[in-house]
Symmetry: C2
Subunit: 217 residues, 2 copies
């Protein structure tokens, strides 16, 4: 059974891999808020346990074993977020932090009970897919709002859950999952957008728009 720390390493390696970035010592160190030298140590240990392959100075890649372990944690994390949101009525800006701890101590039995109680949800409260027990993950066909062309009408499918303040902001302008909006204008100068939600028009920064993922409707 991997330790809590090992689980967090594997999860973050999976995330970085998912984003297509090279998974380097420093990218991991950045994610985990740990010194690079410490990451190197752990990477060697994980490599010895066949969770990943390590080309020194180049980066790491999860093995199948590592991928499976990562997905188990991510499944627990997202189910738990769902539970906090649906059953205990926590806000979507609070749940990631709580789930960060619970993902490691939730038994498989508890995972199943929660899955049942929730009616076998497919996505978490931020629109991220909940991996299936067999290791399958449906990937979400969404592009960043910042890439939407002028005039486009779109629907929110996912919001990056890494930053609670972004989530609060997104709520505060009346956006949430599955909400529709249209892109009125793209400002060349700072790449910000003017969007229309319901009858309101709102200016939104690139930083925000890059973290809101949508599909065309």
């Amino acid at each position: 059974m991997p330790s809590i720390n090992v689980e967090d390493y594997l999860k973050h390696i999976y995330y970085l891999q998912e984003e297509g970035d090279a998974v380097t010592t420093s990218s991991l160190a950045g994610q985990l808020n740990i010194a690079s030298a410490s990451v190197t140590d752990m990477v060697k240990k994980l490599s010895g346990q066949h969770y990943l392959r390590h080309s020194p100075y180049r980066g790491v890649q999860l093995t199948e074993k590592g991928r499976r372990s990562a997905l188990k944690i991510i499944r627990k994390h997202r189910l738990w977020e769902m539970f906090l949101s649906e059953v205990l009525h926590f806000g979507w800006d609070e749940i990631d932090e709580e789930a960060e701890k619970f993902e490691h101590i939730m038994s498989d039995k508890m995972e199943e009970r929660i899955d049942e109680v929730l009616g076998f949800p497919r996505v978490d409260p931020h629109g991220d897919p909940i991996p299936a027990k067999n290791g399958t993950v449906k990937n979400i066909r969404a592009f960043p709002l910042s890439d939407a062309p002028e005039g486009n009408s779109v629907r929110v499918l996912r919001v990056n859950d890494a930053n609670p303040e972004l989530l609060q902001y997104v709520s505060s302008i009346g956006l949430s999952l599955n909400k529709r909006l249209s892109v009125k204008q793209r400002i060349k100068f700072d790449k910000s957008l003017i969007i229309k939600i319901g009858s309101k028009e709102i200016a939104i920064s690139t930083v925000a728009a890059e973290n809101i993922f949508v599909e065309s409707v």
Copy 2:
């Protein structure tokens, strides 16, 4: 913020104190499944942090600070047991083990939410009192079934939750919290009892009877 290990030490010291036993290095070592030498180390640390007072070779005693910390954990433990039982339908023989982990990572906010969802329960699924937020604990006026005189009619108020097999056994003979039963006969030879539950008469060992707590009705 005390670590997980510190919290478990404080909790077990509280339990032993509660039972009226002297809290010695070896009794703690027994409860925690840790070598006595290690307990001595930790006790010195806790004493340095004023969680308890230590008379070398004699034993320990919680300070007010230690007592408060212990009760906070016990409250979380018992609320969580309640939640597992009521909301996720776990059996009363499974919940102690799960709660052992969750008690340490449940935030105060989550504690409150759960308390609300459950309707502010006063006892846990084993009949143990749930300490109030202010550090008050109602103590339960119950005596062991093994002390009940012949002919007595009693009601189950609490069952020791330390042994899952005992809990399974208690369920299997049709007993649960608040159930009534009467003592038909005390067998001198092995101190076992014949009890009547509903219309059934059942023989029950002393070991079992010592862990079932009742009040006269």
